[in-house]
Amino acid sequence: MYKYDGYDHQMLADRVVQFQDQTDRFIAGKLSDAEFLPLRLQNGLYIQRLAPMLRVAVPYGMLSSAQLRKLAFIANHYDKGYAHFTTRQNIQFNWPNLEEVPELLGHLAEVEMHAIQTSGNCIRNTTTDQFAGVAVDELEDSRGYCEIIRQWSTFHPEFAFLPRKFKIAVCGTAVDQAATQVHDIGIYLVPGPEGEVGFRILAGGGLGRTPVIGQEIFEYIEKQHLLTALDAILRVYNREGRRDNKYKARIKILVRETGVEEFRNKVLKEWDLIKDSSLMLTEDEIQRCKSFFTDPAYRELENNPPQLTKYLSQDLLFTNWHQQNVHPHKIKGYAIVTVCFKETGVAPGDVTDIQLQQLAELADEHSFGEIRVSHKQNIVLADVPQDELYTLWKRLKSGAMATHNLGLLTDMICCPGGDFCALANAKSIPIAESIQRTFSDHEELKNIGEVNINISGCMNACGHHHVGNIGILGVDKKGEEFYQVSLGGSSKNSASLGKIIGPSFSQQQIPEVIEKIIAVYKTNREADERFIDTYQRIGMDPFKEIVYAKAD
């Protein structure tokens, strides 16, 4: 993991003092609501329906056990004993008091954490694949580059007041788990003409009201040009992005209205001016940042040791969990474990202070003291020896963290929705729960196989509904909550946006609608087709016909 030096620590310490002063001036009435708003947002602080909400940055999803323990302390001390993992690999607290936030930031700073730029019209937390560094299909570990981007974007003086929020994702694996193409900037590590790894850069992707897949700006650039390329894109966006209408202010609208060719030309013109400036990365800096993400002290182990295979033939629950939640690791004898936080009846992504403590212990005992947060609101223990899987599973089970539905229908992405969020049109958590209750049989879930349902309570799309195989969007119809269903979205390499099936449904209808959709899939699927494959082959009509069929 990245370790702070004196410079990094100094910046965080200065930030805590600055925000204490800003909060004091706001409380004393010397700073107006409108003037405090962007300051607090750039510190992750929202004023919500019930209380303030603080979003803490988890850079590219990495957390140490010490940080987890601090988060557990904060959940217990400043919140009501829980926290919430978000779709940007961050963590949110829903109940802190405004006056206590600066103090809370002080606690975070002790463990090299902060809430900088987790909201507001600035460059947000950079995200990546939660399997970075351990995936079997990885070209190069993306995390060193994420850290380089984190530093460049933190308190960037020119880009603190962009037209709108700005999100960057980096992907170094063959299978894209980072939803890279629906980010304002999406970066792929790719082999260049001579085989040396560089970057392919897309811009103009995004979800929200107008979902768009990003378009290629740089087909290939060498590593040293990463920051100058980003700087050039951001400068064009900062100057030309629309500021007259917040719904048209994202870079995706600028790229669309300018046309990708012309947008690219503008970026290249800017880039030409700064390409060889001091912002050009040095080999030393690349190596310095990469050096924080080297392999831990792996032992020489065998695949499928008897301590694993023995239990796989004995314990059905363990076998189910192993099948769904354990992925192959690049090192022999190790495995990647995903702890799925999608227990029926618990809001997706919610975790208690006790669970945070337990995760810290488990990370120390079984995974070199580190965890990762995935953008699907789950937790990853990335380096678990296979002969410890059964012990780990039992411990998870006793902490109610052994849900074995990873990647299955009930592993949904879901925003906090109308129960918490001031922006929401409709509730989303009860929708997730009603679907989970309808699909409670694990054998049936396994039979259905890989399908992801993404739920957002409004068109800001925090629940990524556009890229759900099945997307559910809460809408307001004359004061009543309704839900629009879309099919065919995907955030993977062949990213696609879902299409709306037809008129929206009431909350009560949703479980039945999902059942019908799944039934159409099961009737039509061929061989090993996943839901998305069948949909792409047969199209919308068969689904539409059944879902809207009149009862005789």
């Binding site: 410079y7 200065d14 003037e35 530093q151 308190f155 003086p157 020119e158 962009l162 100057r239 700064i274």
Partner: protein
């Protein structure tokens, strides 16, 4: 009370900002003064400006660009960049462009919605004078330049980003 910060201290402001709708008669009525004129005025009344016996500077709104000033940009002793609202970040890019691309060595003055909590970022983008909004406490504003002791990016005062120095 003084509302102008220049090079880190409070100072008198001798410059008057002309509104967009102003005509050249303003110059005739006030000989020997110092005016910051809008870009349109600058382009339209070059003759009157040449004849004027006082000082003339130009201000750009956030949707205007330094290149629009034209060839005489380098002759100016001062360029002001407007913040119609403090949340409009375009003038940061204009300041950086003036310093880095045009290598402008004169004064770059922030005008408009200029508030305490943005001064640090402005100064790092190349602003060296700040015409504070009327309600701002100038003493409080003077503290803003040391909000952070260090930064990752380069700035006009520190041309190397931190990664080339650490």
């Amino acid at each position: 009370m003084q509302k102008l910060i220049k090079n880190g201290s409070l100072t008198d402001n001798h410059w008057t900002i002309l509104k967009v709708a102003s005509g050249p008669e303003v110059l005739q009525a006030a000989p020997g003064k110092s005016f910051i004129v809008p870009l349109q005025f600058w382009k339209k009344y070059q003759d009157e400006i040449q004849d004027y016996n006082g000082n003339i500077a130009v201000w750009l709104d956030s949707d205007e660009r330094p290149e629009q000033i034209g060839e005489r940009l380098q002759k100016l002793q001062l360029i002001a960049l407007n913040f119609p609202l403090f949340t409009d970040g375009r003038s940061y890019s204009n300041a950086r462009e003036l310093r880095q691309r045009f290598e402008f060595k004169g004064e770059i003055r922030a005008i408009g919605d200029v508030l305490r909590d943005q001064l640090y970022f402005m100064s790092r983008c190349g602003f060296d004078a700040f015409d504070l909004r009327q309600d701002q406490d100038p003493q409080l504003c003077l503290q803003a330049f040391t909000d952070f002791k260090t930064a990752y990016q380069s700035s006009i005062a520190e041309p190397d980003p931190l990664f080339r120095r650490r």
